[in-house]
């Protein structure tokens, strides 16, 4: 099967398929507070299907060794599986070459890698970095650190009351000092899907490279680096059915080649003397030390699993879940949805009038319902909407409309208690 066929699988997720999918996730059978778990915190971290768990067990019981080093059987096997995982990620992103895929600890480390490897060499005093008002702290703080070190300036794309970026204002931010654009593909706090293809094209007209934070996009829709044409793309394994401790930085080869290494150590060198070190070629240049081998291989298995269902089908089904949840929550008096962009991924942030989100979260938990409450590591978004925190339900393809009904019942119960 070609990559096109895999990613473009048109199979819609119907009731029969949904039951099969749910049976793949052992944790979904868990009871919490004596009730069946209703897991609606997928934007924070998703769960792992048995196939990925089995892959981890197989690796640890039959394949583990350090990679890129010894000539023995296990080392060669582990190296081959690790590099195959890299190729799986390459196909998942439709990257041109596997050397454009760098394994990191997660999205945060991937962004920090770009800040250190690219930013510190190519962004200087008085230069401007454009970010959006929707960013997660992971795509704000590294750039703030760089700006402080170099005397560069951060410029922020504002948004409207729906949580959509203002494209005219975005375009007006560009000038001769603009050196970088760091932007979320999908907002973790509000679910807004940004028009990134259009924004990347505009930045490129000004010769400005673009990093997309794809942590909330990668699990939910097919991705195509050739179509998006971004220069860097970052995401995490644990938000897409893989384990924690593994993430990916995609970068265009010609940019990665001219960047400085992020960390020094083993594997990232060709030769070392006390006088001089010659760095390895990409991707090894950016993978100092022993990488999370098991986690990378498990991420490869998670990609296989998602491809088996089809990202296009996942996107369609999650849209159906989001539309249903939006319709049901909007019908509740005293509940306000925060983030009402026309294009949204499976995130529903809301507040219940007169009830703090933490009380909402605690009471829902007593019915086995897991949501996130807090500022979602996006305090500027909270400030923009004048709330200290929100309650956030976020969906995955293994969630059901019945679970959304339980959320609605839970919200009603909260309102009753606080009335």
């Amino acid at each position: 099967m070609s990559v096109e066929e895999i990613n473009g699988a048109r199979t819609p997720i119907d009731q029969i398929m949904l039951e099969k999918i749910r049976a793949d996730f052992p944790i979904l059978g868990l009871q919490v507070s004596g009730k069946p778990l209703v897991y609606l915190d997928n934007a924070a971290s998703s769960h792992m299907p048995q196939a990925v768990i089995d892959r981890i067990v197989r690796y640890q019981t039959q394949e583990h060794s350090n990679i890129h080093r010894a000539v023995h059987y296990l080392s060669e096997l582990a190296t081959r599986e690790f590099e195959e995982a890299r190729v799986k990620v390459q196909h998942f992103l439709k990257a041109k070459e596997s050397r454009e895929i760098i394994f990191t600890r997660g999205t945060t480390e991937a962004i920090n890698l770009v800040m250190h490897g690219y930013g510190r060499s190519f962004i200087g005093k008085g230069d401007e970095i454009i970010l959006s008002g929707l960013e997660h702290h992971a795509n704000i703080v590294p750039w703030q650190m760089l700006a402080q070190e170099k005397g560069a300036v951060l410029r922020v794309i504002p948004m409207n009351d729906a949580g959509e970026l203002l494209i005219d204002e975005f375009e007006a931010l560009f000038n001769s000092k603009t050196k970088f654009l760091a932007l979320s593909h999908v907002s973790n706090a509000l679910g807004t899907i940004n028009p990134v293809k259009q924004m990347v094209a505009y930045a490129h007209k000004h010769g400005v490279p673009v990093l997309l934070d794809g942590a909330q996009a990668a699990p939910h829709q097919p991705l195509d680096m050739q179509d998006l044409d971004c220069d860097f793309y970052a995401f995490s394994g644990h938000k897409m059915c893989g384990p924690t401790g593994i993430g990916v930085l995609y970068g265009k080869a010609q940019l990665l080649e001219k960047m400085q290494p992020y960390q020094g150590g083993g594997d990232m060198i060709l030769s070392v003397t006390f006088e001089k070190t010659t760095y390895n070629v990409i991707p090894a240049k950016f993978e100092a030390g022993t990488p999370p081998i098991m986690a990378a291989i498990a991420l490869g298995a998670a990609i296989d699993y998602l491809n088996g269902i089809g990202l296009a089908g996942i996107e369609l089904y999650e849209k159906e879940l989001l539309d249903y949840a939006t319709m049901r929550v909007s019908a509740l008096p005293g509940v306000r949805i925060i983030g009402t962009a026309k294009k949204k991924a499976a995130v529903l942030s809301f507040e219940i009038k007169g009830v703090h989100p933490h009380d909402v979260g605690t009471i829902l938990n007593s019915d086995g319902i897991a949501i996130r409450t807090g500022h979602h590591c996006a305090q500027p978004v909270m400030q923009r909407f004048h709330v200290p925190a929100t309650a956030r339900a976020s969906f995955a393809f293994y969630n059901t409309k019945q679970e959304i009904d339980k959320l609605i019942d839970g919200i009603r119960k909260v309102q009753e208690m606080f009335s």
Binding site: M145, L154, V355, H356, T362, I363, P388
Partner: protein
């Protein structure tokens, strides 16, 4: 705790809706502020200490029901008390919320404050209940800013940017 009504009792919900001693005291001789950055809970405490006794006390701020009710009932409980007796309550309340002090112990002074005993089963909410009491402790000791995030006062942070 599976039945939330054990924690969210009518008394707590009522103090959340109509917090007592809410506001600030003009000319107060003691002030302290407490906040939990993670939740956004924020309490400002003002009081008048006279001859080692809490003459008046008031609080204002934003927070969840647990935090607000705890602050409201705390102000009622310590008004008129000596610094020493107030400190005993701070210690006992903290112990109860973290599970190291039995509020039904015969030496307990907690009285009605026992209704917060249930938070000990909700580790993520312990800090909400304790925040007003930490703030009171700070106010009694000349006043400063406190946080119960992670149940330890963080080291002074480094500020990036403006």
């Amino acid at each position: 705790m599976t039945d939330m009504r054990q924690l969210y009792q009518e008394v707590i919900l009522d103090h959340n809706r109509k917090p007592r001693n809410f506001g600030s005291i003009l000319g107060a001789n003691r002030h302290a502020e407490g906040h939990n950055p993670l939740c956004g809970d924020h309490i400002k405490l003002s009081m008048n200490l006279l001859d080692d006794r809490i003459e008046t006390i008031a609080f204002e701020g934003e927070g969840c029901a647990i935090c607000k009710a705890s602050a409201s009932m705390m102000t009622g409980a310590v008004k008129g008390k000596s610094v020493r007796d107030a400190e005993t309550l701070v210690e006992e309340f903290r112990g109860m919320a973290t599970g190291t002090f039995d509020p039904d112990n015969q030496n307990s002074h907690l009285g009605r404050l026992k209704i917060f005993a249930g938070v000990k089963d909700l580790p993520s909410r312990v800090k909400c209940a304790i925040l007003p009491w930490h703030t009171l402790h700070a106010a009694l000791h000349a006043g400063c800013s406190v946080s119960t995030e992670g149940e330890a006062d963080p080291a002074p942070g480094t500020t990036i940017g403006e």
